[in-house]
């Protein structure tokens, strides 16, 4: 039994960081008032660029490349939604489509349909004292992003609630006009948040291809970017809430994999497709339960126009 719990926890901790980073990115963008539908696309671009970069450079540096790629795509979103005040949902969906089609095109023309060549994965760290302890030992043996993903949500929460910058970010998401009349720049704050969300989504994608897998695959990130949005909503737009929700979703996924491998008979009872859909069904169920108790930023999705009052 302990072993089962250990392996469930271990694979949760392995898979969760990608989702956690993307969910934090979504929180950052939306708290500043910019809808983050483009997470999926930014993750995909990050995953692809990290995998390709890792072919020629050390993997940690490749992860940084993935983050920058995510931020670059976020920059397009920023231009469309902040500079040109276009519809943020449409802009985000467009980014997702571009990333989906562009990723497939580049992958197939450069490396063929089976994914990029394998790369050196990020180093896993063994925590000597910890690995022998039951259950807690699951904390040992992960790569750096896992540990970052456990710390970052709390740091981000602190930033949002305890610093002047955080106060301004919350204000710009709820009432940008108030921020503008105090002589602060609405667009600078929103630009910062959108680029930051791109870095985080890119990091999430890069983690997928350098820590969870060892290459970029055709379907990466397979809806994780949308699940990150669900985690953000479920976590009520708070960093720690989104972190807990993302971890919960990742646990659901680990549970599915665990079920399939430990009880092969189950697969004959329940069709494989249903099992594959499990984490997504879980997400849907949770959002349905949460219902209307929403706490989205008041000015979410509204472009700030100086002359409209």
């Amino acid at each position: 039994m302990l072993e089962v719990i250990h392996s469930l926890l271990f694979s949760t901790l392995d898979a969760a960081p990608a989702l956690i980073f993307a969910a934090l990115g979504a929180v950052l963008s939306e708290r500043a008032g910019v809808i983050a539908v483009g997470m999926e696309g930014m993750m995909r671009v990050g995953a692809f660029c990290a995998a390709v970069a890792a072919l020629t450079m050390p993997t940690p540096l490749a992860v940084v490349m993935g983050m920058l790629a995510g931020a670059a795509l976020a920059g397009v979103h920023g231009f469309l939604s902040i500079r040109w005040r276009s519809d943020q949902v449409v802009s985000g969906i467009a980014l997702n489509l571009v990333a989906l089609a562009g990723g497939t095109f580049l992958l197939e023309s450069l490396y063929g349909p089976n994914g990029t060549p394998p790369i050196q994965q990020l180093t896993r760290w063994n925590l000597p004292g910890l690995s022998a302890v039951p259950v807690l030992g699951a904390l040992s043996g992960h790569s750096a992003p896992t540990y970052l993903a456990l710390l970052l949500p709390f740091a981000f929460q602190g930033l949002l609630t305890r610093t002047p910058l955080g106060l301004r970010l919350r204000a710009v998401g709820d009432k940008p006009q108030a921020v503008a009349t105090l002589g602060l720049s609405v667009s600078a704050l929103r630009w910062g948040a959108v680029l930051g969300s791109g870095l985080l989504a890119g990091l999430g994608g890069a983690v997928l291809s350098t820590a969870v897998l060892d290459r970029f695959e055709q379907h990466t990130p397979a809806g994780l970017g949308f699940m990150a949005l669900a985690a953000m909503v479920f976590g009520r737009w708070t960093p720690v809430g989104a972190f807990l929700a993302a971890t919960f979703f990742a646990f659901g996924n680990a549970l599915r994999i665990g079920l399939v491998s430990s009880a092969p008979g189950l697969v004959e009872l329940i069709p494989q497709g249903v099992l594959l859909a499990l984490p997504y069904l879980l997400t849907l169920g949770v959002l349905t339960l949460q219902g209307q108790r929403s706490s989205a930023p008041a000015a979410l999705g509204t472009p700030y126009e100086q002359e409209s009052r």
Binding site: T163, P164, A171, K175, A178, T181, G183
Partner: protein, 485 residues
């Protein structure tokens, strides 16, 4: 403008008052001309420059973040920190000190969305003073206040002037301006047409200056028409009405009221005390949770908007762009909305283009819609003319009960007078009118009876001969128990 003086800027809507102030505050850039402060020409690239030079502004629509506390709102943009972290304790202390210095009573830790409108306005003023504002600009500050709150604000403004601050008050309420200002500048069509000392002028003179020498009568002086003939049959009769607001909390907590044919019944109250929800229940847009009522011969429970229309309820909603018109459609298409399947707007399954155009043309003339062109897109019309289209459409349907919410918000005096005249005319022809307005003057000018709402209950009921502004104000603030209704 001199130091330590209270200057009022008056003018009709669209005369350029707010634009001028936004230039002063650095939100807009002047196309030409020079701005001087203390004898030096200055140029504000953003509000930050204006704030740095000691100019503060209280906007007509509050610029407060509702989810933050009073202290957080006040320090936003120049937050006190300790080791790079936000020092909220110090913020609270600083804000308390500012409040104490200027005699405001505010709880710095309270969330802004829990405060009354009057208190929120004080937060706005404290926000400006906290930044060291010497010149304070207030844009239509009393539009949303009760008479008591307005008096309080006048005291606050005089107090600031006594301390050597300069206050600029933008308003179109002439009575109020005369009571509080030292000097009055009158604007018309983007120009300052006159500057007078408040002591040397009267409301009539100011009104004449505001509208120019044109033929229009100033609405401020429009007499309230004589009380209508004895009211007729009851159209609406509700007992113990309860309904839930958008936030899930009870908005109406047991309302009894009655509207009869041929009378205008006003609902007075501070924003957010259930008036909006009442209008929505009566037009079928919101369901009631408890209570009973008869509306034009049918039950009020389970009413749909379509049923409300067929029974003869007309609706002039509060937010015209949200609920009354489609800006992208033409005037004639907007006039047909809701009746588009019936003559003269339709012939069988087809649109009757000719009938629609003729009817619309007649209405634009009768209601003085400018330009009187049925084909022009509604968005090309000014706000006042858009509202006239709404009024024309609703009254043309000959409603038996007309539910009107804030019918003249944002309109200039000319349009206000026209809308008011049309409502009185409908009343005189036997329509029952339920008028919800946050503008107490409007309610008192039009209504034959007034109910006062506070926190979802009727806290007062006054027939026309017993109108008393003070008493109504007290009931709007809930400072009296429900009286002998």
């Amino acid at each position: 403008m001199h130091r330590g003086e209270l200057l009022a800027v008056v003018g009709e809507n669209g005369a350029g008052k707010s634009s001028l102030m936004n230039v002063l505050y650095g939100l807009y850039q002047p196309d030409a001309g020079v701005l001087s402060l203390d004898g030096q020409p200055v140029r504000f690239k953003s509000p930050r420059d204006a704030i740095a030079r000691g100019i503060g502004m209280v906007h007509q629509h509050f610029m407060l973040v509702p989810t933050l506390s009073v202290a957080e709102n006040v320090v936003l943009g120049r937050e006190p920190t300790r080791h790079g972290l936000l020092d909220l304790e110090r913020a609270v202390r600083e804000v308390s000190a500012t409040c104490a210095r200027f005699g405001f009573q505010l709880e710095p830790r309270a969330r802004v969305d829990t405060l009354s409108v009057g208190s929120q306005q004080k937060v706005e003023i404290v926000k400006a003073l906290h930044r060291g504002a010497q010149v304070l600009i207030l844009d239509e500050p009393t539009a949303v206040l009760t008479p008591q709150e307005s008096d309080e604000l006048a005291r606050v403004m005089r107090g600031l002037v006594a301390q050597g601050h300069t206050v600029v008050l933008i308003s179109h309420k002439l009575k109020e301006v005369l009571g509080v200002a030292d000097r009055i500048a009158v604007m018309r069509r983007g120009r300052c047409v006159a500057e007078v000392r408040a002591a040397d002028t009267t409301a009539e003179q100011l009104a004449a200056l505001m509208v120019g020498e044109g033929p229009r009568a100033p609405a401020a002086a429009a007499p309230a028409s004589a009380v209508s003939q004895a009211p007729g049959e009851p159209l609406l009769d509700v007992r113990g009405l309860q309904a839930t607001g958008d936030n899930g909390r009870p908005a109406l907590r047991g309302v009894d009221l009655e509207v009869r044919a041929g009378e205008i019944v006003g609902i007075a109250g501070v924003d957010g005390n259930g008036q909006r929800e009442l209008a929505e229940v009566l037009t079928g847009l919101r369901s009631l949770t408890s209570g009973s009522g008869t509306l034009l011969g049918g039950p009020l429970g389970g009413l749909t908007p379509a049923q409300a229309r067929t029974r003869g309820v007309g609706h002039i909603p509060e937010d015209r762009h949200h609920r009354a018109v489609v800006k992208a459609l033409s005037v004639e298409e907007n006039v047909a909305l809701g009746r588009h399947t019936r003559p003269p707007f339709a012939k069988g399954p087809w649109i009757d283009f000719k009938g629609r155009r003729e009817r619309t043309r007649a209405l634009t003339v009768a209601y003085d819609v400018r330009p009187p062109d049925p084909e022009v897109a509604l968005r090309a019309l000014s706000g006042g003319n858009q509202q006239k289209v709404v009024v024309a459409r609703e009254l043309d349907a000959r409603p038996r009960l007309l539910v009107v919410v804030q019918p003249t918000r944002g309109l200039d005096v000319g349009a206000v007078a026209q809308v008011h005249a049309k409502l009185r005319e409908a009343r005189d022809q036997g329509t029952g009118v339920l008028l919800v307005s946050l503008d107490l003057e409007e309610v008192l000018a039009l209504s034959d009876r007034v109910y006062v709402f506070f926190e979802g209950r009727v806290t007062g009921h006054f027939p026309r001969h017993a109108f008393d502004e003070r008493e109504l104000g007290r009931r709007m603030l809930g400072t009296l128990e429900p009286g002998h209704a």
